[in-house]
């Protein structure tokens, strides 16, 4: 409820009205939850807490169990083991219609036989609310659909249907709002708009949002906290910047953005730094960014953190440096994406801003790659270096 000044007058009553009563929502605790379908473990002993008022994203590839997790919170699936607690209340055994949560379904699941007003009013009518009309109108105002109240869902565009789905859930003042891939069916431009819109609504109403998505950009744009989920487990949880800049597993490193992972080993420490031997090249990095109990590690660096210069140019003091030959250069205007071959044959990606009008380096140029030790991370070499990387079609 901080950015009141940004809200148009039309939407202002929301913050002082019924919605404000539940401002902050409630903590959602998922405690040691496991869900099995036959032999398949969809969610594996998962524990996490989503603080009240947070915009939380559960991010993972399809089939990682994130939707199952959300459905268990909604009460649409029963956990095989574990507890789900909202606020102070254990809701594990409650039927879905008794839980203080509402869901924005994938593809919205709007009732096709009811108009927009009745869709939004559905939950209020079930609860026997006495202020249905006022509440629905206020909510339609919030999502800017007042003039569509008497239309049927099929007469609305995808983005409008999406807003109806949000309004239909939010109007009930849930303690937690669950969003299941809410923007998956929208085209790219609309998705960007709705990301901003959803973030605005969440800031306005202050309810806890738990959002499930496979789109890393969507998660990073909207959520304050992201949990990256893989194969029924949480790989890493934290603010978007922590996950991106300091991934702790190869899966997170590859699933969020791209990473160059180079095989190396830790040879010792010096102050707060760890010393590395990367295929014979000596490098250094902060020990705090080493996420491995093993001496054998994947030395990681994001492509945009790597400087690329013609061989022989001066590199910044104290940087990790490796010689390479450019094997591919894609000029895309604002930047150039290089593939550079290291002496031992591995190719790494480099994103370079086009700071001059000179054009990019050419394929075959001998270059030196350098990056700040602060931007280096190290992961356990026993993990699969390709985990979470985008698969090229037909590649298995």
């Amino acid at each position: 409820m901080t950015e009141q000044q940004n809200v148009e007058p039309a939407a202002a009553p929301v913050s002082s009205g019924a919605v404000a009563e539940s401002a902050g929502g409630a903590d959602l605790h998922i405690v040691e939850v496991t869900k099995r379908f036959g032999d398949f473990v969809a969610v594996d002993d998962l524990t996490l807490t989503i603080p009240a008022g947070a915009f939380f994203a559960l991010l993972g590839p399809s089939g990682c169990g994130k939707t199952t997790m959300l459905r268990m919170v909604a009460g649409l699936e029963e956990p095989t083991a574990g507890r789900i607690v909202i606020g102070d209340r254990d809701v594990t055994a409650l039927r879905p219609y008794r839980r203080p949560v509402n869901t924005v379904f994938q593809n919205y699941a709007l009732f096709p036989h009811l108009d927009i007003f009745e869709n939004v009013a559905f939950g209020l009518r079930r609860k026997g609310s006495k202020t249905v009309k006022a509440d629905v109108e206020r909510m339609l105002d919030l999502v800017e659909l007042t003039t569509y109240a008497r239309r049927k869902p099929t007469q609305l565009s995808g983005g409008q249907q999406q807003r109806v789905a949000v309004a239909r859930a939010l109007v009930n003042n849930p303690e937690v709002l669950l969003l299941d891939e809410p923007l998956g069916a929208l085209d790219l431009k609309l998705r960007r708009q709705m990301q901003i819109e959803l973030k605005r609504i969440q800031t306005d109403v202050g309810i806890t949002f738990a959002h499930v998505t496979h789109d890393q950009e969507e998660a990073m744009t909207m959520a304050d906290t992201i949990a990256v989920m893989n194969a029924g487990r949480i790989e890493q949880m934290g603010a978007p910047i922590d996950l991106y800049e300091n991934p702790v597993t190869t899966f997170v490193a590859n699933f969020l953005g791209q990473s160059n992972l180079i095989r190396g080993s830790i040879t010792g420490t010096s102050g707060g730094d760890s010393l590395l031997d990367v295929q014979g090249i000596r490098m250094a990095m902060p020990t705090s960014r080493v996420h491995s109990d093993n001496a054998d590690v994947w030395v990681g660096v994001r492509p945009e953190k790597v400087h690329i210069e013609l061989a022989g140019s001066a590199t910044a003091e104290g940087h990790n440096v490796a010689p390479a030959v450019i094997s591919d250069a894609s000029y895309i205007g604002v930047s150039t994406q290089y593939l550079a071959k290291l002496p031992w044959g591995q190719e790494v990606g480099v994103f370079a801003q086009n700071m001059t009008t000179q054009g990019p380096l050419r394929v075959g140029d001998e270059v030196s790659l350098s990056w700040d030790p602060e931007n280096t991370f190290a992961l356990d070499a026993q993990q699969d270096a390709d985990a979470g990387a985008e698969k090229i079609e037909g590649d298995t």
Binding site: P96, Y97, F105, A109, G123, R126, K152, N172
Partner: protein, 315 residues
């Protein structure tokens, strides 16, 4: 008609669209197969029926077209009770069908899992035997000393049904005190049985199409399973309900077989009346007038019903 492809071939690609658009008869040519079908199978029989209903004469002296509206007066005055009975019987049969078919179709659509296809086959299976044979088989099932009648008698159901006596429609009660055959109940039971698949299949089709996420959304929005059914599942299945009731009611209203095999002489329906007038009395004009009235009645009722149900807005 054959000119269309022939001339179309001569046109070069660029001006085809324009050339076709300028020939006024093209749409009619394209419509002609359907129109021909309608004329042969609908317009001609209907016109023949209506014109026959306005003829006068006898089989011996021959019939001639004389605008004999008296046939309609005779039909209504002589048979209004039969019409009324037909409507009530088929209406009750339709309601019984709905009551049996809805849970069946619901189970098939949502609960049956791998048994779904087997259940579908079982619903359709009776069609492999003749309609007449199956109806005759019900004579045995409902026979006076069969187990159905014995049970219904012992449970006191027959006594209750026998006590419901409505003049004209159920003059002697819905069933006999100790029998079902030769009573209205026999006819209604036969109609219900025979038209059950026509109710079940459209219901199943529309229930099966319902996105289960809509029902989940209902429950997520505080609807108990029963409320979710009333407010989401049932309204969404209305197209199936309308289609099923029409497919049951229309043929049931004109059906002569069940009434003649399972009912008594006083339980005759319009179908029997028309049959007798045509084949026994050879009064073709009167039989035609009876048919036209039945048709008009059904069309009127169905129109009112479909308007009322307002399902055209449903997806």
């Amino acid at each position: 008609m054959s000119a269309v492809p022939a001339t179309a071939k001569k046109d070069t690609g660029a001006d085809t669209a324009q050339a076709v658009g300028t020939r006024w008869w093209t749409p009619y040519a394209l419509l002609s197969p359907g129109m021909l079908w309608l004329v042969v199978f609908f317009a001609v029989p209907t016109i023949t029926l209506v014109s026959t209903s306005l003829q006068s004469g006898t089989l011996e002296s021959g019939f001639s077209f004389t605008f004999e509206f008296g046939n309609y007066v005779d039909a209504v005055s002589g048979s209004w009770e039969v019409y009324l009975k037909s409507l009530v019987y088929s209406l009750l049969a339709t309601m019984s069908c709905l009551a049996i078919a809805y849970p069946l179709a619901y189970t098939m659509a949502f609960k049956a899992g791998r048994w779904k296809n087997i259940m579908l086959v079982l619903v359709i299976a009776p069609f492999f035997t003749s309609f007449l044979l199956r109806t005759n088989a019900w004579k045995t099932i409902l026979s006076d000393n069969g187990f159905v009648v014995t049970w219904m008698h012992n449970l006191g159901i027959l006594e209750v049904l026998n006590a419901i006596q409505i003049p004209v429609i159920f003059a002697d009660g819905i069933s006999g005190a100790d029998r079902v055959l030769q009573t209205p109940l026999g006819v209604i039971a036969g109609l219900t049985y025979n038209f059950l698949p026509f109710m079940t299949l459209p219901l199943y089709a529309s229930l099966e199409r319902i996105d289960v996420r809509l029902i989940e959304a209902g429950q997520d929005l505080y609807a108990t399973p029963w409320t979710a059914f009333r407010k989401v599942t049932f309204p969404l299945s209305l197209p199936g309900v309308v289609a099923g009731t029409l497919l049951t009611f229309i043929p049931a209203a004109g059906d002569p077989v069940n009434a003649s095999l399972l009912g008594g002489p006083r339980d005759a329906m319009v179908g029997n009346k028309i049959y007798n007038t045509f084949y026994r009395l050879f009064d073709y004009p009167l039989a035609a007038a009876l048919s036209v009235i039945l048709m008009a009645m059904i069309v009127t009722l169905v129109t009112l019903y479909v308007r009322r149900a307002g399902t055209e807005e449903l997806v």
